[in-house]
């Protein structure tokens, strides 16, 4: 497959050496033998015959009856699967602290979070425990941990990669994507896993979707700099690193252009209505009947309510309750439909901007990795770390996070590029240009 420069044996050595401390993995399969490119897989992606827990007690014993489409494709391309990585429970969280099986630690500073919800995958790549990893991204869950761990993370265009075999969180927002050491590796993995799939009716044929940019006019790429993503509330070292990196781009090839995305300040509110609503629907299937944890009770009602009480963690319950509220009679129009209308406006902001620019830049996160336990007391504080990443999920556009430096204390900083629907190629190009600017 030509991804990464680590052999499976070396990855396994690194797992043996560091995973007791980092806890990036929930299950390790690989025993150091065999040929293939060693890939780690977030534990919400199904591998036939292997446990898939979504980091929840609800699925602690669940064994996947089939391979996710992306797994089949990677296997066909020469991957071997090193194991399943830790995550926030059912992908709900921004720190991997919501795992029912304990947190993962950031390899750059073990007192800090690796980000979430794909924290295990990002930490595994950063610590050389795999050549590349798969994550999933609903509101930033690939990009934010990639930024916190100093690696590359791509959220593809919605519909570019099949969600068949991905344990669903929010179906209009979820995408599977690569977390890798280099931009080139992200492109290799993306090219393998992308494509329409009859088993996921939301996959779209990129060829049919031609908004090919007028883009590469006069051999220059126009980079939009949205004022709404460079305001207050950003850690000064993060802002500095991102701005410094941007201004190092070759002006012969890249022109920076100020733009505005006026509905940006509503994106997080919009997300925290739509996502819990979809979560409450998607997690209704965990009823103690079909699969998963089942409470031994006398009435059906008690089987449902006690299985779900004991199987789900706090954040999962919180979002299900919030989702049930915004979808309930009397509130549905005021919250859910309202949020879907605002979503249309957020998408329109991007459509308008992409008439003037080819790619849009921002810091991936407002801060570098925070300390374990720092934000667990206040859900809203945790949600605010998603502020720059959720718009891409709402609009369905692809977005990549690429390392662009470190803080004085050695914490990685990520720069994000958002592109037009199905123009991941442009993101790979800019991402590679950024990577060239940084010391090896």
């Amino acid at each position: 497959m030509g991804v990464g420069n680590l052999t499976a044996k070396e990855c396994f050595e690194n797992i043996k050496k560091s995973d007791d401390a980092l806890h990036a993995f929930l299950d390790v399969y690989y025993d150091g033998e065999g040929k293939g490119t060693p890939i780690a897989v977030k534990d919400n992606i199904l591998i036939e015959g292997k446990r898939a827990t979504a980091a929840s007690k609800m699925l602690a014993e669940y064994v996947a009856p089939y391979d996710a489409t992306v797994i089949k494709k990677l296997r066909g391309a020469g991957a071997i699967f090193v194991g399943k990585t830790n995550m926030d429970e059912f992908a709900m969280g921004s720190s991997t602290e919501n795992s029912a099986f304990g947190p993962t630690r950031n390899p750059h500073d073990r007192g800090r979070v690796p980000g979430g919800s794909s924290g295990g995958s990002a930490a595994a790549v950063a610590a050389g425990m795999c050549a590349a990893a798969l994550g999933s991204d609903t509101g930033g869950s690939i990009r934010q941990p990639a930024a916190f761990c100093g690696v590359v993370g791509l959220k593809p265009t919605y519909g570019a990669v099949s969600r068949n075999g991905l344990i669903a969180m929010a179906s209009s927002l979820d995408q599977i994507g690569p977390i890798t050491k280099t931009v080139e590796d992200a492109k290799i993995i993306f090219d393998i896993i992308k494509g329409t799939d009859p088993l996921d009716s939301t996959t779209v044929d990129a060829k049919a979707f031609s908004i090919r940019s007028s883009g590469v006019r006069n051999n220059t790429l126009r980079v939009g700099v949205p004022e709404e993503y460079f305001g207050d509330g950003i850690d000064p070292e993060v802002k500095q690193a991102v701005e410094r990196t941007l201004h190092c781009l070759d002006p012969k090839r890249y022109t920076l252009k100020p733009i505005t995305l006026p509905h940006t300040k509503y994106a997080l509110a919009c997300y925290y209505i739509i996502m819990p609503a979809e979560v409450s629907a998607n997690l209704a299937r965990y009823d103690g009947i079909r699969y998963g944890y089942s409470a031994k009770e006398d009435t059906l009602f008690d089987v449902y309510t006690k299985s779900r009480d004991r199987g789900f963690g706090n954040e999962v319950k919180r979002r299900i309750i919030l989702g049930a509220y915004v979808l309930s009679a009397g509130y549905y129009d005021a919250y859910y439909i309202k949020a879907q209308r605002v979503r249309a406006l957020i998408k329109q902001d991007f459509e308008d901007a992409f008439k003037e620019v080819d790619v849009i830049v921002s810091p991936t996160t407002p801060t570098p990795a925070f300390k374990i336990g720092e934000k667990t007391g206040d859900p809203l504080q945790m949600y605010l770390s998603d502020v720059f990443t959720v718009p891409a999920n709402l609009a369905g556009i692809p977005a990549i996070s690429v390392p662009c430096g470190k803080t004085k204390s050695g914490l990685p900083i990520g720069i994000q590029f958002m592109g037009k629907w199905f123009e991941e190629e442009t993101l790979f190009e800019v991402g590679e240009a950024i990577a060239q600017l940084l010391p090896a």
């Binding site: 925290y272 779900r308 706090n314 309202k338 629907w421």
Partner: protein
């Protein structure tokens, strides 16, 4: 805005047996989050259609057959559960 009775009702709708401590905590959390999302009221959306799928959706059909590898249930094709009444 949200009331304590709402939380009791939602716990039943969502089929989760929440403890009193959890209900108190979620009441507070929901108040905080709902307070934050209130800002959407400011947005003028009178003539805007709700957007559910960002890249457009269309029907994809398949034959009405069990999926590959489907093994059925311990009862065959039925699922046996506790009594629906009581």
């Amino acid at each position: 805005m949200i009331s304590k009775e709402d939380i009791d009702h939602l716990a039943v709708l969502a089929r989760i047996d929440l403890s009193e401590t959890e209900k108190k905590r979620f009441f507070k959390d929901l108040e905080e989050v709902l307070g934050y999302v209130e800002k959407l009221r400011e947005v003028e959306t009178e003539h805007v259609e709700p957007l559910a799928n960002a890249v457009g959706s269309y029907n994809v059909m398949r034959e009405d057959e069990p999926p590959q590898g489907y093994k059925g249930t311990p009862e065959g094709v039925h699922v046996k559960v506790r009594s629906v009444w009581g």
